[in-house]
Each structure stands twice: as structure tokens, then as C-alpha cells.
Assembly symmetry: C2
Homo-oligomer: 203 residues x 2
């Protein structure tokens, strides 16, 4: 493995420590201790903890599989399923008891972290737009229920996912994610008449 630069050490240590402790409880001292770098060097790279947190959050989003949602070569319902399965597989790797960085930060942002709040709002808005687009596409090809509103459902899926990951942390297991898949894909997005039967009817 290539040797990490001081900057990379700080970012990697911060990702792990923010995940474990949350944003507010994890100070600069905690991060430089974990990174094994002197505290003075921190401020050569980041003017404030919030700017480091933005970079950690950006890296985290980069692995969230949003490109799966945008991949039109896959059917919309399958895209949605694969996207959420991809995120769930990341949690497995991190350990379910670590939860998810995004809702963790959501529960912590405030007036004193305006940059982090702005980033989170923009990232969540983009995620919502991609999910809503997949839902609308699925409603057009009748693989997704037409009795739901695409925008509201997209927002709700994301909102509920944040809670599912908190419950996953509390249970230290994948079970709450299974509940999400069961309700979202087994009920909420399901067309009232199965698509397979609709196709037969039209033949």
C-alpha cells in the first residue's frame, strides 16, 4: 500500500472517528491522535473541523452508489433495489453497529455548522431527485405503483432509510434493513396488479 500523506492520514482517521463518535463529540485532538500527526499540522491542511467533515462526507457520498440509480441500462425498480443493496453491503463492511454517517450528521447539524448543513441538504436533494426519477420511470413502464406520488415517496424512502440505519446500529444487526426492503419493495413500490399479469393481459 502506498504511504499516506499527512493530509490523507487526517482524512482517514477523521472518517473513522466521526463514524464512531459523531461530529460534535469528535474534536481535532481526537482526530490528530488517531492519525498519529502533531496537532499543529492539522491547521496546515484544514482551517476548521467543519471543513474536514465536509471532505469526509463528500468521500462517503462518492461510495454511495448514486451512479447505480442513474444507470438507465437497468430497469428502474431493479436500479432502486440494487442501489439500496449496495449501501447495505457497505454497512456490512463497516459493521452494522457503526450506523451510517449521513443520518448521524443530520442529527447533529445546526446553526453552528452551516457549511455541513448546506452540503447535506444539497446531497440529499440530489439523491432524492435520482430516486424520484427512477420511480417516475417505473410508473411509466408499470413496474412501480401509480397510486403513489414519486416525489413524496422518494423523500420518504430517504428519510426512512436514515431511521433504519439508526435502528440497525441499536440492534447491531441487518434486521431493520430487511424491514425496509420488505415494506419498500414488497408493498410501497409494488404495482397493485403485478406487472407480469399486466403484460399477459396485453398479449
Amino acid at each position: 500500500m502506498a504511504k499516506l500523506s499527512v493530509r490523507e492520514k487526517i482524512v482517514a482517521a477523521a472518517a473513522e472517528r466521526f463514524h464512531a463518535l459523531g461530529y460534535n463529540a469528535c474534536g481535532v485532538q481526537e482526530i490528530v491522535d488517531a492519525a498519529g500527526v502533531p496537532k499543529g499540522s492539522f491547521y496546515n491542511y484544514f482551517k476548521a473541523k467543519e471543513l474536514l467533515a465536509r471532505e469526509v462526507l463528500n468521500n462517503y457520498w462518492a461510495g454511495a452508489g448514486l451512479e447505480i440509480l442513474a444507470d438507465k441500462s437497468i430497469g428502474p425498480l431493479e436500479r432502486l433495489r440494487r442501489h439500496f443493496q449496495h449501501i447495505a453491503s457497505r454497512y456490512k463492511k463497516f459493521g452494522f453497529e457503526n450506523g451510517c454517517l449521513v443520518p448521524k450528521f443530520m442529527h447533529e447539524v445546526s446553526d453552528s455548522t452551516p457549511l455541513l448543513r448546506t452540503d447535506l441538504r444539497r446531497q440529499v436533494a440530489r439523491w432524492t431527485a435520482l430516486i424520484a426519477e427512477a420511480i417516475r420511470e417505473g410508473q411509466t413502464d408499470r413496474t412501480i405503483s401509480n397510486s403513489i406520488d414519486a416525489e413524496t415517496t422518494a423523500r420518504f424512502l430517504i428519510e426512512s432509510w436514515g431511521g433504519v440505519t439508526g435502528a440497525m446500529k441499536l440492534a447491531a444487526s441487518r434486521a431493520p434493513i430487511d424491514d425496509f426492503f420488505s415494506v419498500a419493495f414488497g408493498t410501497l413500490l409494488q404495482p397493485s396488479v403485478p406487472a407480469s399479469r399486466q403484460r399477459k393481459t396485453r398479449v
Copy 2:
């Protein structure tokens, strides 16, 4: 207003500070400063921060309106709706930007807070059981969809509620709660044939 005892001052200050900062970021010093009591007196009342957090959490649950869920004089669907409306009205009082203490703690519990984790698991299990019971009752009287599993849906409603409150904090508005009501009561729990029409059919 009756003068608060030192103990009451500590509990009230901790409730406010845990809500604002989270469990990990809020130390004993922060709490005694907010309560205006000397740090030494803290340990006369609480052997550890975690024991104080348990008491704060218990008080918080006491106001969660679980008794509404158990009130069999109200129809099951209406009970569910009133219960969640009751919690939402509390958030309005606290300020939507403060989020909810329960999922906030969920995202923070770990091996180092075993008592808090045990309490949360027990409280959430009780909450789930009451919601599942209301759903089953609604399925029997056909005011709630029979195509959903009562236990899975009860767990999912609670899990998703935790995420909705994180989104509410991020947005500093009630909008995510409206998404929850729209999806939960407008789609998920809805019987596929409206109850009003079923009744007409049977007349």
C-alpha cells in the same frame, strides 16, 4: 413555579443539553454549567453520566403518548394517527431543528453505553408491540390493509420515524413529518378497498 431541587436542575439541564449536543458530545461539566450547580454535587446524585441519561430518556418516553396507542376506546387507525400527531406536536414545541432524543441516542449507543442500549431496546420493543397490536386490530375491523405484516410494518414505522426526525432537523421544518403521514396513512396502512365502500357493500 416551585423551586427546583439540585437533582431536578441537573435532570432538566441534561435533557436540554443532550437534545442539543447528543450524548457523547455533552459532558458532565457541560451539564453542571447549564444547571448552575457545582460539579462535585453531580456525583452525589448520579454515579455516571449514563445513569443520568437513562433518567432523561425515561422522562422523554413518559411524554411520548404511548397511552394513546393503548386506548381501546378509540379506533386503531385513529389511535395510530393521534399518537404520531402527539409526538409531532412535541417536536413543534421543542423546535423542529432540535430533532428527537430517541433516534439521536440510537445513533450514539455502543458497547460503552450498555445500560442506555438495553433501555432503548426495551422501550422500542414496547413501542413496537403497541403499534403492532393496533395494526392487527385494524386488520380485524378492516380499517387497516390486510396485505401488510403487522409486526414488520410496526417495526418499519418506528424505524422510519427515526429517520424522519433527522430529516426534520436538517430541514428545520415539519415537512418530513408530512411525508411520513402521507405515506404511512395515505398508502401503507390504507386498506386496498376503502373501508367506507366496504361498509356500503355490506349494507
